[in-house]
Subunit: 346 residues, 2 copies
């Protein structure tokens, strides 16, 4: 309101605060950095005047000298994919609480990534990078971003082989698919289900591989024949089409696992609205992820869940640990899955 005409009020700088508080510019810097030596009343005075002048330290300048940008880069093919968006949301909240901001970068939707993007991204000097990407090795990222940046390839849908590696080269988040899958197969067995199909995600992706393998393993252990696989790509549309194929070209199934919840929605809609089958009476459906939409009445999906908040907490913990201690040996955290029973089975 007190602005005049086209005048642009310049941002306050530490110098101005110092002058007004009759202290040195260094003192202002110290006032904003904890664990520095500054007389309490002086710090208080400076912070008060800073607030009056609406001053906060410039992160760019701070980054330049301290080497910490307080930016965390997130590489993602599709922000609006359900799983990814919920993950990004939780991550942003958690990181913001720790004084970091998330920097968003989009890559191709086929979960691949190009070197141009990495160079582009490096210019922003992120303190850490989380890549929701498949088909990329951590070493590739390291080469382009430099070893100083802790990197987390956060496979979509928490995909990873089931075992914790003995001596991991990079920090890892392991998801143990077994528990949830065992519960799911046990539940199906209770309903005397015989023919089980699997509508896959993108074939080569870690999440898909891990889930299909675990399903196959658990079924074999229980003496069931291996599942029929219908190829999908984690999308509603492909899962829809795959289900039609399964019943029109193939021999159908009594129960269908989908590689993710959105895929399961496609399966359900194909069964009900195109094939005229009832879920769960005629065909039972189980998904993976437990996204927020899975409890919507139209789907009410039974699904294998791994806890989002726990996952994000673990990831943030890994990042902070690594930033505080860059040379520590590689860490890994492990997460459990469990079955959430809703209406599409039973």
């Amino acid at each position: 309101m007190s602005e005049e005409g086209g005048m642009i009020r310049a941002r306050a700088t530490a110098e101005m605060v110092a002058q007004r508080a009759s202290v040195s510019r260094v003192a202002v810097s110290r006032a904003f950095n904890p664990h520095t030596s500054l007389k309490p009343e002086k710090r208080e005075l400076i912070l008060r005047i800073a607030q009056e002048l609406n001053y906060t330290p410039d992160r760019a300048a701070r980054a330049l000298v301290s080497g910490r940008s307080h930016l965390v880069g997130i590489i993602v093919p599709d922000v609006c994919s359900h799983w990814e968006s919920q993950e990004i949301d939780a991550l942003t909240t958690a990181l913001q609480a720790e004084g970091f901001a998330t920097l968003l970068f989009k890559t191709r939707t086929d979960y691949s990534m190009d070197e141009k993007l990495l160079s582009y991204m490096r210019g922003f000097n992120p303190d850490s990078v989380i890549a929701f990407v498949e088909n990329v090795k951590p070493t590739t990222l390291v080469r382009f971003l430099g070893r100083a940046v802790p990197i987390y390839v956060h496979y979509p849908h928490g995909g990873s082989v089931d075992d914790a590696q003995p001596g991991p080269l990079h920090d890892r988040l392991n998801v143990l698919q077994r528990a949830g899958v065992e519960q799911a197969v046990a539940l199906l067995e209770g309903y005397k289900v015989r023919r089980i199909a699997y509508v896959s995600g993108i074939g080569k992706s870690r999440a898909n591989t891990a889930r299909e393998l675990m399903l196959r393993t658990v079924m074999a252990e229980r003496g069931l024949p291996p599942p029929v696989v219908a190829p999908g790509d984690f999308s509603y549309e492909r899962a829809f089409a795959a289900t039609l194929d399964l019943f029109r070209v193939g021999k159908g199934a009594d129960a269908i696992f989908a590689a993710n919840d959105v895929g399961a929605f496609g399966v359900i809609d194909a069964l009900r609205h195109e094939l005229g089958l009832r879920v769960p009476e005629d065909v039972k459906v189980i998904g993976f992820d437990d996204i927020a939409q899975s409890h919507w009445k139209s789907y009410n999906l039974t699904t294998v869940k791994f806890d989002l908040d726990e996952r994000v907490r673990a990831l943030v913990r890994l990042i902070l640990r690594r930033l505080n201690n860059p040379d520590a040996p590689a860490l890994q955290e492990t997460l459990q899955t469990r079955l959430v029973v809703r209406g599409t089975v039973g």
Copy 2:
């Protein structure tokens, strides 16, 4: 691979590139900035060597001296809301193409915003800010972020009063709800619908106000009685509950408008799975937004759409114009809506 032990390879700097190319450091800077005077073959050489050394200019340093961070701040209550996530996705793509990166900040889910967040955000020196927030005036943002930062309050769901303002104080994106609503009401009239209800969004929000008002206006113009309003908050859950109320406590309706598509999903599920009514035979449903999920077979929603790509293009255009010419008079762009007819009517 060529790394040795714990050695951290430092990021290449302009100085290193200059040395290796036998030019001055200034020349390196010029090589990366178009419209600067530099012999073409020299620029080529520098860029080649830069690529070899995997060098890109440090954005923090660049921002410090040029005053341009190439960051665009986005303030959003919920990244995983369908509308917002699709908007963020498209914005990130468009901005990335222009050399900007999007910086994500989360605020409270009631679409409000606090001053602490604004101060926090200002520290990152965004070149521009887009706030997906209600209940906040541009002037408040200006006070905390400084007039140098172009600000766009991008009301969720494109909410805005229907008219273009004659002399706007800030850049604006206007959405003309009328066309789509007229088509929707006309379609319903064709089915001899008599009792129309409106499941609202958050009461005070611009989007909700604009949509309810336009619906009311168009119905009045056609001699229809005003719609019954059931209070929602843009969420599936509240729309679900509001619909139950409408039929159990209230007198029901022949057609229901929902303030947004996700709300419409809640309406549909309440009607079908809790009230045992058929859509569209017993009750017709129309949403607003046309999000990606609206064509899923379980909902197959008829809805009032305004084009996402067009919207994002307009917004980015506004931002770039403003950055190139900070003192230009306020600009406004206008978008049209139209009805997308699917299965929930007819």
